[in-house]
Symmetry: C2
Subunit: 445 residues, 2 copies
Amino acid sequence: MIQKNLTDQITKLLEQSKKIELRHLLKDMHDADFAAAIDDFSAAIVLQLLLLLSLPAQCHLFVYLDPKKQSDVASLMSRNDLAALFSNMEQAARADLYNQLDDQQKQTLMPGLAQAERDDIRKLASYPEKTVGALMTSGYATLRSNWTVSKSLIKLRLEAPDKETIYQIYVIDEQRKLLGTLSLRELILASPSSLVEEIMLSEVVSVQVSDDQEIIPQIISHYDLIAVPVLDHEAKIVGIVTYDDAMDAAEEEATEDAQKSASVAALDSPMSKVSPAELYRKRIGWLVLLIFGALLSGAGLAFFEETIAANIALVFFMPLLVGAGGNAGSQAAALMVRSLATGDVEYKDWTKLLRKDAIVALALGLTMGVTVYFLGLVRGGPEIALIVAFAMFFVVFVGSIIGLCLPFILSKLNLDPATASGPLVTTIVDASGVLIYFGFATLLL
Amino acid sequence: MIQKNLTDQITKLLEQSKKIELRHLLKDMHDADFAAAIDDFSAAIVLQLLLLLSLPAQCHLFVYLDPKKQSDVASLMSRNDLAALFSNMEQAARADLYNQLDDQQKQTLMPGLAQAERDDIRKLASYPEKTVGALMTSGYATLRSNWTVSKSLIKLRLEAPDKETIYQIYVIDEQRKLLGTLSLRELILASPSSLVEEIMLSEVVSVQVSDDQEIIPQIISHYDLIAVPVLDHEAKIVGIVTYDDAMDAAEEEATEDAQKSASVAALDSPMSKVSPAELYRKRIGWLVLLIFGALLSGAGLAFFEETIAANIALVFFMPLLVGAGGNAGSQAAALMVRSLATGDVEYKDWTKLLRKDAIVALALGLTMGVTVYFLGLVRGGPEIALIVAFAMFFVVFVGSIIGLCLPFILSKLNLDPATASGPLVTTIVDASGVLIYFGFATLLL
């Protein structure tokens, strides 16, 4: 969505310091597109551009820059400019930026802010990454249960500019305990003299501040919410997570799972932004680790050296057999990992799934066994055909069951089930395949 | 999120036909939870339950049932009940249900509906699956540019109950051409006497009705929209897609990609609902197809029979080498497929990515080569160590490059790049690995 000529246009206006034209250009388009167009600019140039804009425009544009660029630009800003930017930024984005500053920058910044802002930033910035607390914003709108609809609308109109959303509104008591919720749609449809408590919904779906962020997209999408309220351990509301942050979290989680499912450690940024050195670091770990898994297969082969030496033709079928087992295992693991991630399947369903998958694995094993029997007949004679067919049946069956069980075992060990990746499953199944195949061969030949 | 005791409670109330209590229970909780609790009920029981509820409650609950259950229940309904349900359902859900009915049901149903409803259903139901048209709803709110804010608010209040969302509103002319957009927040903040055209945003992000549904989550999340307007080829607005449908589409696409990345054909329903027979069908295709890929590796081994017979120890290192190549290839393919899916990387970036990944692949190959050199030294002597190390370097490098290129090649052939799955990459890299390894060995020994 980046337009090359837009980038050129901005560069030109900037070189000529055409402030008014730049402001017009920014006003006529979406901030996200403008931010994408200046993505390749250095931090110094971005800063120069920002300072030509009004403060609200600065804030709008700033939140669309990528996090790395944000902190680079912030580190070049004067203390006053940075404090002004901070005071006007949306709360969640501000806390994220704060977390990326170094200690010195943090200390320089804080005195320039109002007490309430300092408290808000410290609070939001204190939640660990990947928790609901780190994702939430404090810019939510609240009402009291004994207010009338007309009073509520007046109050909302006053507060709207500072709130992340006013489409879902939360009814609280003096202790900020959550009593109910109300949508703006319900509010404008209600009679002006009604009381909030008469029209609010008192069964509110909420999450805990310490929950894992991955539950947010599931809840928002399950209940079709605009935002979900976040409670602390005393059931007091401390923030909300809106659907757009939930979508970002869902995409982030799916990307992480896709990377883990191929034995890549989760990248910190989108792949296009990552340096070759980081890509290397994120990939080499598992590659080296899996060498040791593969050594098992090698040791298995060494154990059967005599059988192999006597029947070299057995080796020709090895890639076929262990490959098929690994493929069946990868299929089962990927299906299971994704179903666990979307909440379609839960850990307690394990035995039911095992029974269902055992039937599928049996059928797959049989089909594959029969198929390679004929291949074996053509290329190695009836004896080899029988061995290959039997081995194929067992390897596919066992591979499939290993693929199914691995995510559950990993989660029992408190590891991320997404680590039950194709390469890990393949390596484990390879070793089992070698044992099954040559074990059979040694028995039968 | 299903509560066992809730299911029991509903069953009990239903057996005693306690209509009032059931209505209260449903009112006190979210429809999504209620629907989840009756998920295992037969269609006949669900119908019996629905008919105890008021029509609006029926509709709310019905849309949360899974699509299969919806059509089963619909097929048991009398023509009048079904027509009443259809008339009151949200437009997009109604069109989806219509598409699931058989021809006879469709013909029975249509005469019971008003002309406008018939037209709306036919129009929405006519768009191919996975397009924006199939995802959109016609329940959007519109305004005219010369209306005042106060007139607009009155109109919105009247229309609100029939609209999917009133938080994003579209300004159209007499031909339904899209002139601008406005959020409800902006509308209630504006002065009552302002004209819509003075406050609307005229640069509107929109999609085409025939676009692939996968662009929707990208656009909604990139621009932080509540809904995106859908235009036909004459730039007239024909519908909107809201953020909640975008989230569902994003999850569906990510699930499909996760399945394809493990060589499973995309499932039609969540895994927990799919029968063993369907799971078998979705998995066996690729497993059998990949057999023929693996035959290449077998043929490669047969070609090097003499080398192998003379040095059986070479075989022991084979799983290590081809495994590592396959793993590196799977990593590269998964990174690329996911980056293409999220829009982080585009097809035109191919050469830039190739250059970056070549550096990474070289570094990975070197590290892996050095590591196995020492393993080779210990377990096979200096000559084998050298062969294994060289082969490892090349296999990992080539595997990585194959994994990177495959998604691009597939998309050039108009195939889904997600098909560049771990198992497919592994099978291709296996064959190359055998050739590289034993080719080297034959040359050097």
